[in-house]
């Protein structure tokens, strides 16, 4: 038996400080392991950053940079531009024929002139960064057509700061900024449709998944890298303290999100829906998903709560219709309008 058998091959290493049962760090490990060591990670502020880079330790086996909450898309553009420039001058093909200003470029000008192939550039960001504060900068990255894989770990709120509502929070969920009270059943807004947004902005590969399906995540990451240009993958990752769930239920809840139809599992390539995860005709009702989570507990106690549950069930049903998730559904009905 070779020694290597016992070597830790993960690129997001144990020793980080995430909660047991954390969906995000689990998902991040599957993504980075799939991308491999020739990858640069640009991370937004959030739990993933906080739990993996506490000074003076790092859980990352790949080059990693965290700058701010809202700017990972633009930092990734900068990284990409730098490597584009490096490969341009290592190939020693100056784009110019002007003699006036530019001399022949010397490849030794570079910090690392030997980079064999340009690395993959991946952004890891939460839903707060992606849906809300970094939305404009992400739009800029899409517009520029930058060859970046943007992965959003969606836990439907600002969990790192104590479970406040974000643009990704679902209707009826209790958060610390949408508390439940006499006049409130929790969040009263619909979750922002980032998938449709990414498609509309020309992201070449757009997909969703949940941490219940690690193989699906790996396949999608692999598939996405076949496309040059912006790629967007959104993964639902349950948050133990933020959602009020048990660590043992992370995968179970993430599976229910998909099988109820609340979180449709999709793959959209150049505007076409190419793959969906079918849900069973005897699919679980939304209550199955809700009852395992503290953030929805209150819905089972009042008339208004029952209304909210109905609304959530309607969202599931609509998703199944729209994305063609049931076994007999016609597929590929929606998002064609965005096709380039």
């Amino acid at each position: 038996m070779s020694k290597n058998k016992y070597k830790n091959q993960n690129l997001l290493l144990p020793g980080h400080t995430a909660c047991s049962g954390c969906g995000q760090n689990l998902a991040a490990r599957h993504v980075i392991n799939t991308l491999g060591p020739n990858t640069i990670v640009v991370n937004a502020t959030g739990c993933l950053e906080v739990t993996t880079t506490k000074y003076s330790e790092s859980a990352w086996g790949v080059p990693y940079i965290h700058s701010l909450f809202e700017n990972p898309a633009a930092v990734a553009t900068g990284v990409l531009a730098a490597f584009k420039y490096k490969s341009q001058i290592t190939n020693n093909k100056p784009q110019t024929n002007s003699k006036s200003q530019i001399q022949k470029i010397n490849p030794t000008n570079l910090a690392n002139p030997t980079t064999p192939t340009n690395p993959n550039v991946v952004v890891f960001a939460g839903d707060g960064s992606t849906f809300d504060i970094g939305f404009g900068l992400l739009a800029g990255m899409f517009e520029r057509g930058d060859d970046v894989l943007y992965v959003c770990f969606d836990n439907e709120g600002y969990q790192n700061t104590g479970a406040q509502a974000s643009g990704a929070s679902t209707i009826g969920s209790k958060t610390t900024t949408t508390p439940v009270g006499k006049n409130s059943i929790g969040s009263d807004l619909m979750k922002k449709n980032m998938v449709a947004f990414a498609v509309s902005q020309g992201a070449r590969y757009v997909a969703t998944s949940t941490i219940a399906y690690p193989k699906d995540i790996e396949n999608k990451v692999k598939e996405s890298m076949k496309y040059k240009g912006p790629k967007y993958i959104q993964i639902l990752v349950p948050c133990i303290p933020g959602w009020g769930t048990e660590p043992k239920d992370t995968v179970h809840i993430a599976r229910l999100a998909a099988t109820t139809g609340l979180y449709p599992i999709l793959e959209i390539v150049d505007g076409d829906v190419t793959k969906v995860l079918k849900v069973s005709a005897q699919r679980p009702k939304i209550e199955e998903y809700l009852k395992l989570q503290g953030r929805y507990k209150h819905l089972f106690k009042t008339k208004e709560g029952a209304e909210a549950i109905k609304k959530l069930q309607k969202i599931c049903d609509a998703n199944i219709e729209v994305y063609g998730l049931c076994p007999t559904c016609e597929e590929h009905q929606i998002l064609m309008q965005y096709k380039k």
Partner: protein, 365 residues
């Protein structure tokens, strides 16, 4: 090579000669001509940098941060509202010790909205951890950019070159633009020790707990304070290479005078005329120009101002509710070391014209 150039065009030319790998900026008056000219140099095939068009100054600053972190020289430029929008990234660039170089075409900040020159924009980020240089002339602004790269990259501290909007960006004069070979000799290749590279994975931008945070921030504070020596050395080196003088402060007829004006930026030129006229009227007066605001040249200031009776600080920026920002800095430099009356003057905000006569009047107060 001597050329007749608009200030912005001269900056674009010198930036290209400094061989950045990535240029990213967002247009805002009066910085626009600089980025337009850089875009044109790229479009004409004269420049080989990646020119990244972005949707905001916030993104521009983030792009150059990512580029420098990847081991490539980068450049951005902005002013006023754009600088304020960048603020969070500017602190981050400094904290990450990324040697970014940027130009700030100094302009007023709103409200009321105003596109003309003063220095309130740059003064609002004076605590962000950037070395801050202020040019008096277009030539000086040109010369400060290779210096900025040299200093930034040798110390891993970002440098902001400030030039008064319109007065220096939109005026045309004779400028000496160095040859490429001369710049290459002065400015070594950018070879950072730490950068994002897969052959040696490193982590940038960690979380620091209270104990480490203070240590790290104070270490940065000391580093910037101590950068003065390296900056002066790089300035001397610049003189050896190009024959032109760059120094932390400039003085004009300051020996044995009773009154000294202190100013930062292009108003130095107008004040020189004012000083000459006042002297011909029998007044004992001289002038100091501050060319380096961070780190602040306390020592140089003290050596010039001790022995004078009165200092008139001509501010182009105010800390609302207190006084002119340069005044506070001058007081700090002199505190407990010499006895001198300090007159706080706040002038020329939002492009309000200050003529020679107006500046001469200040002496009568």
């Amino acid at each position: 090579m001597k050329k007749i150039l608009e200030g912005s065009q001269a900056i674009a030319e010198i930036i290209n000669l400094c061989r950045p790998g990535v240029v990213s900026a967002y247009p805002i008056t009066p910085q626009t001509h600089i980025v337009e000219d850089l875009a044109k140099l790229k479009a004409d095939g004269i420049a080989d940098y990646e020119f990244v068009r972005v949707e905001s100054e916030f993104a521009a600053a983030s792009v150059v941060l990512g580029a420098v972190a990847s081991g490539v020289r980068a450049y951005t430029a902005t002013t006023s509202q754009g600088l304020l929008l960048m603020t969070e990234v500017l602190y981050n660039i400094a904290g990450l010790e990324m040697p970014v170089v940027m130009t700030c075409a100094n302009r007023a900040v709103g409200a009321p909205i105003n596109i003309w020159n003063d220095q309130q924009d740059a003064m609002s980020v004076r605590d962000s951890g950037w070395i801050m240089l202020f040019a008096k002339t277009i030539q000086e602004a040109v010369d400060m950019h290779p210096l900025a790269y040299k200093v930034a990259e040798s110390l891993s501290i970002p440098v902001m070159v400030n030039m008064d909007g319109f007065y220096l960006t939109h005026t045309t004069e004779e400028v000496n633009i160095p040859e490429q070979k001369a710049i290459d000799r002065y400015l070594p290749k950018f070879r950072p020790e730490n950068y994002l590279g897969v052959e040696n994975p490193k982590t940038f931008g960690y979380l620091a707990m209270p104990k480490e945070y203070q240590e790290i921030r104070l270490a940065l504070h000391e580093k910037i304070k101590n950068s003065r020596t390296s900056i002066v050395k790089a300035m001397k080196d610049f003189k050896n290479h190009f024959g032109r003088t760059l120094e932390p402060i400039s003085t004009y007829k300051t020996s044995d005078v009773n009154i000294v004006y202190v100013v930062m930026g292009s108003m130095y030129g107008t004040l020189k005329v004012a000083v000459d006229e006042l002297r011909s009227e029998g007044k004992s007066v001289g002038l100091v120009g501050i060319n380096m605001f961070r780190p602040f040249p306390d020592r140089e200031i003290l050596s010039v101002l001790q022995g004078t009776k009165k200092v008139i600080v001509v501010n182009r920026a105010v800390s609302l509710g207190t006084e002119g920002i340069l005044t506070t800095e001058i007081k700090k430099a002199l505190y407990g070391k010499c006895k001198v009356e300090i007159q706080d003057e706040i002038v020329g905000l939002g492009g309000k014209d200050m003529k020679v006569g107006d500046l001469k009047e200040l002496i009568k107060k």
